[in-house]
């Protein structure tokens, strides 16, 4: 079966002549695509650095949670809508952008899932885990695009 993912890799010159590899991926809004998309992006993020098991795990959490949020909450699993991933791979850090076609949300209004009234809930832990496991998180103004920065350290 042909993969429904659309994928592109290119190298570009960033400031000071440092080569940055750009990986872009377009994914239909189908949760069945998440596992393959995550594995594909992680493979490129870790190219030549496969021994970094903790970095691999942090990438897995960041990508899995951001893609699930984008597909389920952003695009509401509308198969006509896409989720776009852009990974900027530099020697010191990885920047992962995940963008959906939804209306966006206000990340400041997402409560932490640790309080006594929240810990027994069946959802609401994705963004919390992202924030705990990556080095920085940014959103665009609309709230439909997340940028997650992971230092390779």
């Amino acid at each position: 079966m042909t993969s429904p993912l659309r994928f592109c890799v290119r190298r570009s010159a960033a400031g000071a002549g440092t080569a940055v590899t750009i990986v872009t991926l377009s994914i239909p809004s189908d949760i069945a695509c998440i596992e393959e998309a995550v594995a594909l992006v992680i493979r490129h993020c870790l190219a030549g650095d496969e021994s970094r098991e903790r970095l691999r795990f942090r990438l897995q959490v960041a990508l899995s949670e951001a893609l699930a949020n984008a597909i389920v909450r952003g695009n509401r699993e509308d198969r006509t809508k896409q989720v776009n991933v852009r990974a900027e791979l530099a020697p010191e850090q990885i920047r992962l952008h995940v963008t959906d076609e939804g209306a966006g949300f206000d990340p400041r209004r997402v409560p932490e899932p640790l309080g006594p009234d929240r810990i027994l809930g069946g959802d609401g832990r994705g963004l919390f885990l992202i924030r705990r496991l990556v080095d920085a998180v940014e959103f665009n103004d609309q709230g439909n695009s997340i940028c997650m920065i992971l230092l390779r350290r």
Binding site: I34, G121, G126, R132
Partner: protein, 111 residues
């Protein structure tokens, strides 16, 4: 197949999770355990020793399933989480909610 179900002589029903417990398959595990509850089973062990990843939806499903099991007077234990997966339970404080053993054998002892 993501889930393998077996029964101990003690009556504990063991579900082995192979691969991942994520947004795409969590409902399958919920259905399996709800089916066992309906059939009268009350003791459950989830064995994660063959599990590479659990996402937040999988964690949420475990919380929901555990609540349903408790409401029916049962008990659910977890075992075999690798260090990374255990860290997810610790970050979300779910390690305070579940009985988590290092191995299935340890979890089954005295269950």
């Amino acid at each position: 197949m993501s889930f393998t179900q077996s029964r101990q002589e003690s009556g504990v029903v063991v579900f082995r999770v192979d691969g991942q417990l994520v947004v795409g398959n969590r409902l399958e595990l919920k259905d399996l355990i709800q089916g066992a509850l309906t059939a009268g089973d009350r003791k459950f062990l989830l064995d994660f020793s063959h599990t590479g990843y659990i996402d937040s939806s999988g964690l949420g499903a475990l919380v929901t399933i555990a609540r349903q099991v408790r409401e029916r007077g049962g008990e659910m234990r977890l075992a075999g989480l690798n260090d990374d997966l255990r860290s997810l339970f610790e970050l979300t404080k779910l390690d305070t909610l579940f009985s988590i053993a290092d191995s299935a054998a340890q979890a089954l002892a005295g269950f």
